[in-house]
């Protein structure tokens, strides 16, 4: 076959497309890939300019060993998505380095498509989607560039433009079919369980909290989940999104730490779990939660699992049966005013929720706080009054709310309560639980999110990492578990308005996050833009990204009536067959349109006549040979046959205008027909 060399103008497209594919992935991959990427692209470009030589075999082997080695080292012996991605990236980069033939170009482009799809696993917002449309266009243009003639008359810029135009046309033309396929293609569950993503720590709530952790989260405006309420949206101060219950108290390096107890709590999986009837005060809502690599889900107080794969714990939480490596959408029902454990709690639970760790010296930690607890205990008669006294302590003392608390000294709760008196929600909840447990009242820290931003247009609430919050739940005899938020005593705005609006010092907000849209929200124009983008993204998530089997079914039902889903595959096949059948029919119908020229018709008349004498034209016979044969057979017409041949040849082989062509054609065809009439074998 023809050896196809690599067209030089394709290289520009190819390098640009590599850059396009790499950019969105860069944040996910180790830093060294950026170095490899830049050096390879620069090297290849210098090779293209002819300044640097092609790498020889030794260099190639060295580069491959280095590249694969780097991938292996950074994977640390584990196979996960990041390492696989780095490997594919390095492979395609090395291919670029030694790219010579068209085939190498295919490999790089096809690998790039794969890398592009991997980047969809990390980010799927509307902006990244628009960007990817552009990237696909560049990749397809690179593919066209591979097939452009190297010795073309067109200049390189013109060819680059042609490639871009052609791929754009085809991409546009392919859009309708893509949409049909997207809607009709039957969705199914995963073929096998894939867990290629590394459990690398994502920002977000962890199952262990030491005061100060949540302050870290407040620096991130990353999306955590979105909520859409079926009916009325509750007020901001009612939105306590519970994610984790931290019961276990530990002291490390003199700092109190609260974590999820290691014991696996009994889980009631749907549909075995409790399902409240829809009645007054019951809230139905849908949550679209971003990937966390954890199992916890979020819900308001009095939560109930409403679909398969979700269960409830005895701590009033809902959990997923799989880690959330993907965005998850789920329905939740809550009854916030429900009584929880009103009748009493198990002695084991009581023990867990009154447990306090001793200091490493074996003495009671935070003695001052312990003393405070004893005082409060003696001064009040009921547990409820004691809890309220702790709450009152926070409002009476000069406590302040800050995102940048000082590091606490050893016996951190003492330091916080009596010395610094400035902290974040985690400090307040941590110290409150400590004091309550010191009195023997069952109490626990709840970690989750509070509030969220309401988008007035679409009515959905967006919750970001900086909405992370911690508060307290106390068990009171005859009442059950009851929530208290000590932070509200100190900074009521934090609960009523949200973090962003509650901070008087705007510089403190998202101070470590660099430039972000949320940060620019103090400019009205930007804020509006940000909210609109958020709405668009919500719409995008709901309609496109979460287009699953159920949604597909609903949509098709709405459009085409029941039972459509089960037959959508047939519909799809039928649609294809119809289109192709119509296309074939169209082509067949077009065929008779191919007119025979008058000369051809006249020749077939002659041929029919000659058939009588077994002198018809053979399949492989040219006109010249045919006339020779006829001249031999009819010597008396030799001259006229030869003249006709001459005319025919002149007609076929010379350039003529269409007008004269048609005139000549009819003239010659008349002559041919005349000849056909004259030719007769004498003996017949």
């Amino acid at each position: 076959m023809i050896q196809n060399n690599f067209p030089r103008n394709g290289l520009i497209w190819l390098l640009v497309s590599l850059i396009c594919v790499y950019l969105p992935l860069q944040a996910q991959l180790p830093l060294w890939t950026a170095l490899v990427f830049i050096s390879v692209v620069a090297w290849r470009w210098m090779m293209h300019l002819g300044r640097w030589p092609y790498p020889n075999k030794l260099v190639k082997v060295l580069v491959v060993v280095l590249g694969v080695g780097a991938v292996l080292v950074s994977a640390q012996g584990q196979f996960h998505l990041e390492s696989a991605t780095s490997f594919i990236l390095v492979a395609s980069l090395l291919k670029v380095l030694e790219i010579k033939t068209q085939r190498d170009g295919y490999i790089v482009i096809f690998l790039s498509f794969f890398l592009l799809s991997i980047s969809f696993l990390y980010a799927q917002g509307i902006l990244i989607t628009l960007y990817s449309l552009f990237a696909v266009w560049v990749l397809m243009s690179a593919l066209v560039g591979l097939h452009q003639n190297q010795y073309s008359e067109q200049s390189t810029p013109v060819r680059i433009k042609t490639a871009g135009k052609t791929s754009f046309q085809i991409l546009l033309l392919s859009l309708p079919l893509m949409l049909i396929l997207f809607i009709l293609f039957p969705r199914m569950g995963p073929l096998w369980s894939l867990n290629l993503q590394s459990d690398k720590a994502k920002t977000g709530l962890s199952e262990q909290m030491s005061p100060g952790d949540i302050a870290e989260l407040s620096n991130s405006d990353e999306l955590v989940f979105r909520v859409a309420f079926k009916d009325k949206v509750p007020a901001n101060h009612q939105l306590y999104w519970r994610a984790l219950v931290l019961e276990k108290h530990q002291i490390t390096n003199g700092q109190s730490q609260w974590s999820v107890s290691k014991k696996v709590p009994p889980i009631d999986w749907y549909p075995k779990s409790w399902q409240p009837e829809p009645k007054d005060g019951v809230l139905d809502y849908t949550i679209i939660q971003e990937a966390t690599s954890k199992k916890w889900l979020v819900g308001l107080r009095g939560v109930a699992a409403m679909e398969k794969g979700i269960g409830m714990t005895d701590t009033d939480l809902i959990v997923s049966n799989k880690k959330l490596h993907q965005r998850k959408e789920y329905e939740v029902r809550s009854w916030p005013s429900m009584d929880i454990a009103k009748q009493g709690i198990h002695s084991l639970t009581r023990q867990q929720n009154t447990q306090l760790s001793l200091s490493p010296q074996g003495t009671i930690s935070n003695p001052q706080s312990y003393l405070l607890a004893q005082t409060l205990y003696r001064n009040h008669n009921t547990d409820l009054a004691r809890v309220e006294a702790v709450m009152a302590y926070f409002s009476d003392q000069p406590f302040s709310y800050t995102l940048k608390p000082q590091r606490m000294a050893e016996n951190d709760i003492d330091d916080f309560l009596f010395n610094q008196q400035a902290g974040f929600c985690a400090h307040y909840s941590s110290s409150m639980v400590f004091v309550l447990r010191s009195m023997g009242i069952p109490a626990r820290v709840v970690a989750g999110y509070q509030g969220g931003e309401l988008n007035k247009e679409s009515g959905h609430i967006t919750v970001r990492q900086y909405d992370a919050h911690a508060w307290v739940e106390v068990w009171l005899a005859g009442i059950g578990w009851k929530s208290f938020d000590p932070t509200a005593q100190v900074a009521p705005d934090r609960i009523n308005l949200g973090l962003r609006d509650s901070l008087t010092d705007q510089a403190e907000f998202l101070s470590n996050s660099g430039l972000s849209l949320t940060k620019l929200s103090s400019f009205p124009l930007f804020n509006q833009l940000r909210l609109q983008l958020d709405e668009l993204n919500y719409f995008w998530h709901q309609t496109v990204l979460n287009f699953n089997k159920q949604r597909q079914g609903n949509l098709l039902k709405k459009w085409l009536g029941n039972d459509f889903l089960s037959t959508s595959l047939y519909w799809l096949a039928g649609l294809f067959c119809t289109v192709f059948l119509l296309l074939t029919l169209f082509l067949l119908w077009q065929r008779p349109n191919k007119k025979r020229s008058p000369i051809e018709k006249a020749l077939s008349v002659l041929d029919k006549k000659m058939h009588r004498y077994q002198l018809q034209r053979q399949a492989n016979e040219g006109l010249a040979d045919y006339s020779q044969r006829l001249q031999l057979a009819f010597p008396e017409h030799k001259d006229s046959i030869r003249r006709l041949l001459q005319q025919l040849q002149e007609h076929y082989y010379s350039k003529q205008k269409a007008q004269t062509l048609r005139e000549k054609e009819s003239k010659i065809s008349i002559q041919i027909k005349g000849l056909a009439g004259k030719l007769k074998l004498k003996d017949q």
Binding site: M1, I2, Q102, Y106, F110, F113, F114, L116, S117, F120, L121, Q124, S132, V136, M140, L143, V144, H147, N149, Q150, Y151, E153, S167, I170, L171, L173, S174, L175, L177, M178, L181, F182, F185, G189, P190, L191, W192, L194, H325, Q326, V544, L545, N546, F547, N548, L587, Q590, R591, K594, A619, N620, G622, L623, A624, D625, Q628, R629, Q649, Y652, Y653
Partner: protein
């Protein structure tokens, strides 16, 4: 697939395959490509692309990722549209046979073609013969822009004497994405005559016909006697031009030799008895060339055909044609 067809064309079913092709794309002086004359199959890269789509689809299903689903569907429909665009890159292309070319069997000549397009540009076309010639570069790259005529000359080794019969011309394209191989096989009737292969041997004096000219065989120009100068006439050999006089500015003059009257020669079929027909024709061809080079007058005697002695380009042409078309040429 395309290779399979090529292989079919090469071996086994050659005859029937060619007959089928002839019916489908009849030989003509000019062909405008349409759906009957265009073949299209997925290329190797096309299958690779299909594999990529399957991999992406599995990724989409396993990760339940709508965007990857979208990408797969987009690329899939793009693959289908590419078929139409690939077809369009050939459809509407007009290929015309070029002007007449003559040559000797066994020699290479350039067969000219003219490509033109009425509707759209046709990019990245590769032209090659259906039969592969190992001595040649296997294809010529070309492109045809709309309303422009592109000339392509395809080198071809001439096989048998007679009217020129060119093999099928294969025009192939992978444009735009390389996912499909789209090609056509057209037979274009380029006018032309293939002369027999020339064999150079000394003249053998004709024995037949009782010619009184036979004694003049083997005369050589060097021995001829110089008579004088006359003014140049069209058709005079360049060898006989008096260059020195021309240099002196006395115009074009031709040196006249005595032998021109004497060196008449019959190149006779009968004188080559004992040789095969084709070999006789080859010898006679060689003699025609030699006689012409030596500027003799020569006549040609073939069974049933006699060409009176003369010389000059048109006479040479007439003799060579008679030799080429003896008994209608060699059937392929």
């Amino acid at each position: 697939m395309e290779k399979l067809l090529t292989r079919l064309a090469k071996y086994g079913l050659t005859k029937r395959f060619n007959a089928w092709l002839d019916r489908r794309i009849p030989p003509a002086a000019q062909v405008t490509l349409a759906q009957r004359s265009i073949f299209i199959v997925p290329s190797k890269a096309g299958w690779m692309f299909g594999l990529l789509l399957v991999l992406l689809l599995i990724t989409a299903i396993n990760y339940q990722n709508s965007l990857i689903y979208g990408l797969v569907f987009w690329l899939f429909s793009l693959g289908l549209s590419a078929m139409i665009f690939s077809y369009r890159n050939l459809s509407g292309l007009t290929i015309k046979a070029g002007n007449a070319v003559n040559g000797f069997a066994g020699k290479y000549i350039n067969v000219p073609f003219r490509l033109s397009a009425a509707k759209r540009d046709h990019f990245s076309l590769t032209l090659s013969w259906q039969t592969v010639d190992k001595n040649l570069d296997q294809g010529a790259d070309s492109e045809v822009l709309v309303n422009q005529e592109t000339q392509v000359a395809m080198p071809l080794q001439l096989q048998t004497r007679g009217y020129l019969k060119t093999p099928r011309l294969k025009i192939q394209t992978h444009y735009p994405f390389g996912l499909y191989t789209c090609w056509t096989w057209v037979t274009l009737k380029t006018p032309g005559i293939v002369y027999p292969k020339a064999i150079k041997t000394p003249f053998i004096a004709s024995e037949g016909g009782g010619s009184d000219l036979q004694t003049e065989a083997n005369l050589i120009i060097g021995n001829d006697e110089f008579i004088g100068l006359r003014s140049y006439q069209a058709g005079d050999s360049l060898k006989h031009i008096a260059w020195k006089y021309l240099a002196k500015g006395k115009g074009l003059l031709t040196k006249e030799y005595d032998n021109q009257q004497l060196s008449m020669q019959w190149l006779d079929w009968q004188s080559l008895q004992g040789k095969s027909e084709e070999s006789r024709l080859s010898h006679l061809t060689g003699w025609v060339l030699q006689a012409e080079q030596e500027n003799r007058a020569y006549g040609l005697k073939l069974p049933g055909l006699t060409i009176a002695p003369s010389h000059g380009d048109s006479h040479r042409q007439q003799c060579l044609e008679a030799l080429a078309l003896y008994k209608g040429g060699v059937a392929l």
